[in-house]
Amino acid sequence: MLGACTPNIQPWERGILAKPHMSTQSNAIEASLRQHLLLSKEASSGGHNAGGGGCGCN
């Protein structure tokens, strides 16, 4: 059952994942600004996601 949680996606099969609408954040600049505000106001960092589709590129 756990095997279904880790499908073996090959590097060349990430085309759909690399599409902009698959990103967890629609606007990377806005997300960065919000994170900066949170950092300065709440004195906190971390716990946020990274941008990009994870294409396996260098």
Partner: protein, 164 residues
């Protein structure tokens, strides 16, 4: 004790991932695919006696896009000296590749392998991945990824292999 059994149970998965990767010194794995433009069969084995640069790429991969002008320049410089660039596209939708080629036209050979048979044979680990194969059909260098400095090293290797 149980944790040891769990650790050993994952070993087959780990080795199955790395067991068949094409590495320097290996004979180039079989790769039969098709020309992207006309669908004619393209067999890597037919390029013996030539130094070939096999490049696995996709339209959605930024370093692949970066590599195309440099590879085209290298092809134009050396194609008369038994050097061939074979770029195998791995897009799931062939139209994505054709659209990419309209915006990034190249003179070298472009093939299409949407089912991923060739990259499975080579066990491609990243996009782009490229393999420099000598005149005897032996993999001599493997490159994962591409940056602006890569082409100088690739050119040097190709020139060395052409001189052999």
């Amino acid at each position: 004790m149980i944790s040891r059994y769990i650790a050993f149970s994952f070993l087959p998965f780990i080795f199955s991932t790395f067991a068949f990767a094409a590495k320097p010194g290996d004979l180039a794995p079989t790769c039969i695919t098709e020309h992207i433009e006309n669908g004619q069969t393209l067999d890597i084995a037919n390029y013996k006696n030539k130094v070939i640069y096999v490049d696995f790429w996709a339209s959605w991969c930024p370093p692949c896009k970066l590599s195309f002008p440099s590879l085209n320049k290298l092809h134009n410089e050396l194609y008369k000296q038994d050097f061939e660039v074979i770029a195998i596209n791995l897009d799931e939708d062939k139209n994505d590749a054709l659209e990419f080629l309209q915006h990034n036209p190249v003179k070298f050979t472009v093939a299409y392998d949407g089912k991923g048979k060739c990259p499975s044979g080579y066990n491609v680990m990243a996009m782009p991945s490229s393999y420099i194969i000598d005149k005897q059909g032996v993999v001599r260098e493997v490159h994962l990824g591409f940056n602006e400095d890569s082409i100088n090293h690739i050119r040097k290797t190709v020139l060395t292999l052409l001189a052999e």
